[in-house]
């Protein structure tokens, strides 16, 4: 990955590019489609497959797309947590545990206080605390990052089961759908994009925001520098330890939001082990998306789609006697895409290594 140049130079290049674009636009578009021909082909095939399984009916198509977005939300949030940590050089395999703890904490607080909003904030807060634990072990104490993440996963299962009492409910019910006025009435697209629950909307806003922060701001440049070459970053006066602490804690907050999504927006209660591997799938999503929020969103949608299509299979009465074969679709899709299409994605150079100032 090439680091972005300094601000003045970048502004100049931006103008320059804009000029070239207007001259050679057709050629650029052709080149774009040629470069991404496999992705374009996949997208076309998927679109056709969706329409076909939905029997070319609008209601069915909409419901598949709605379900895709719903399945993708916790995955893209988890992936954003992962890439925020890894861009600064810390592997976070504890996303699963962070999500589980926040789902539990958010639910307990919302159930006790009666307010979903307080519950969501509690979930984010607990996620940040778990991020703090990860940062404390792996950055502060220079422990091994994989072990630190595993610690969080195991501890989360233990703590949430140990302190969970059955029979609690949410007095306010789970989060409700918000419709964005007339936009929500557009056929297909309006139902899918403008008629969602609050955390889903927030996620849709966070994806481009994080992309901008990561690739167009000073903080983003520093984060990536710390992840690629920490000692070089330190020599120009960036605090490697400080950046890592900050990013891992913020990342934990994002994983916490994903946890709150599961218990307060998607399900409306807490179940033991309710994350069910989503934190790990989010890591796959992050790698598919090449450590880029927009890419991660695409990957999360693909994965969400392969989960959503299960319902469609049941709808058309395919494989209903052998539901196990429907159940493996998302996982097989992940493996095939990882092995077939993505090739060799390159992670930030310094991940996995504890940093100590010599």
């Amino acid at each position: 990955m090439v680091l972005k140049p300094e601000r003045s130079e970048r502004a100049f290049r931006f103008d320059y590019l804009g000029f070239i674009m207007s001259v050679n636009q057709t050629k650029d578009i052709k080149q774009f489609f040629f470069k991404k021909r496999w992705w374009v082909l996949t997208a076309v095939l998927l679109a056709f497959f969706t329409l076909w399984t939905a029997e070319f009916e609008q209601a069915n198509t909409t419901s598949v797309l709605v379900s895709t977005l719903r399945h993708s939300t916790p995955l893209v949030l988890g992936a954003m947590c992962g890439l925020l940590c890894e861009r600064s050089g810390v592997i976070n395999i504890g996303i699963e545990g962070q999500m589980l703890m926040s789902a539990w904490g958010g639910f307990m607080v919302a159930s006790a206080s009666g307010s979903l909003l307080i519950g969501v904030f509690a979930g984010i807060g607990i996620g940040m605390m778990m991020g703090g634990v990860l940062a404390g072990i792996s950055v502060g104490l220079r422990g091994d990052q994989i072990i630190a993440g595993t610690v969080i996963n195991i501890a989360a299962i233990g703590i949430t089961s140990f302190f969970f009492s059955l029979g609690r409910t949410l007095p306010s019910g789970k989060a409700q759908v918000i419709k964005l006025g007339p936009l929500a009435d557009i056929p297909v697209a309006g139902r899918v994009l403008f008629s969602n629950k609050p955390i889903t909307f927030l996620t849709l806003l966070m994806i481009p925001t994080l992309w901008f922060l990561l690739f167009r701001t000073k903080w983003g440049l520093r984060t990536r520098a710390v992840g690629e070459h920490p000692s070089a970053a330190e020599t120009v006066g960036i605090s490697v330890i400080g950046m890592r602490y900050f990013n891992v804690i913020i990342g934990g907050g994002i994983a916490g939001l994903a946890g709150a999504y599961l218990s307060l927006e998607a399900v409306g209660s807490f179940e033991r082990g309710m994350t069910n591997g989503k934190g790990f799938v989010a890591l796959a999503v992050m790698i598919f998306g090449r450590w880029n929020p927009i890419g991660a969103w695409g990957a999360a949608l693909l994965f969400g789609y392969s989960s959503a299509i299960q319902t469609q299979f049941q709808f058309r009465d395919w494989l209903t006697n052998d539901p196990q074969f429907i159940g493996i679709i998302p996982f097989v899709v992940t493996i095939v895409v990882l092995a077939g299409f993505v090739g060799r994605a390159r992670p930030p150079a310094s991940i996995g290594q504890p940093y100590s100032r010599e």
Partner: protein, 340 residues
Amino acid sequence: MPIFAVALAIATGAIIIALSGSSPVDAYKALIEGSLSDSKSIGRTLEKATPLVMGGLAVAFAFKAGLFNIGGQGQLVFGALIAGAVGYGITGLPWIIHTPLALLAGAIAGAMWGAIPGILKASRGAHEVITTIMLNFVALNMTDWLASKVWREEGVIVRTPHIESSAEIPRWGELPTGFFLAVVIAFACWYLLRSTTFGFEIKSVGLNPNAASYAGISVKKIIIMTMSISGLLAALGGAIETQGVVGRYEPGFNAGLGFEGITIALLARTHPLAVIPAAVLIGAMEAGGSMMQFKADVSPEITDIIQALILIFVATPLVVRWFLSQKEANELSVSTTWGS
């Protein structure tokens, strides 16, 4: 130093038990009573420890080549199911052939299942952490299907028929023979890694794949072989469990074992022989957990918390060094990057 980490974790666990309103002394007394007091409870501890030794070995072995195998769970259920199928499906063999045959079938199934992520990594650069997790979910669904459709016992419960007595691993008094088999395999792994060319090649790839490749070692071959052996070890754990303890395959078989394998491998600092005491320790906690709930009214999940605490203290030598004021930096590192 790991012993000190364990002591520190148990002390912290005592504080948590006290905070939740029970007596830590009673709880630990019950834990020991349930796991180590007589030959029956020791048998139960070793029984629980057997798949843990194998799961720990699987993770530790892969670590030596710089690979992180989180797919122990999937490999284990495949081994358990295939061993169960061979155990009931083939009749009329003497036990001296039938028992090893079923074990071998389970082991080979696991080795093949483990080879998939190895091949995907070697040929396509797909990261093994992701593929092994995905294959866990696939394996759980496939074994579920096989147990409910192909090899199902007549009746309402989804499970395979009980294996023939000729395929059962016998008990030695109260003690499970399977545990001793696992110990022998641990020694075999230790010898393989320490004293053979193949073991040297595995460690070279783990330390520096570029240097290994430069020295003429085929890195791809080593990756595939290591993942296969790792899968074989985990699957043998499942096969021993089927043939020595459960007697058949049932869905929901040993949930979560793959992750305990990680804990054990790390506690043992990836040394194959140290895996044995680490697995016995965790096995004792699991064997005594129900007694602790019964006698001291402490939820058995406290053992999960203690396991996590042990890991924290093992993973962060700095914490333990504050207590012991040791000077040597004896730091543990297993992370390699995601890199392909």
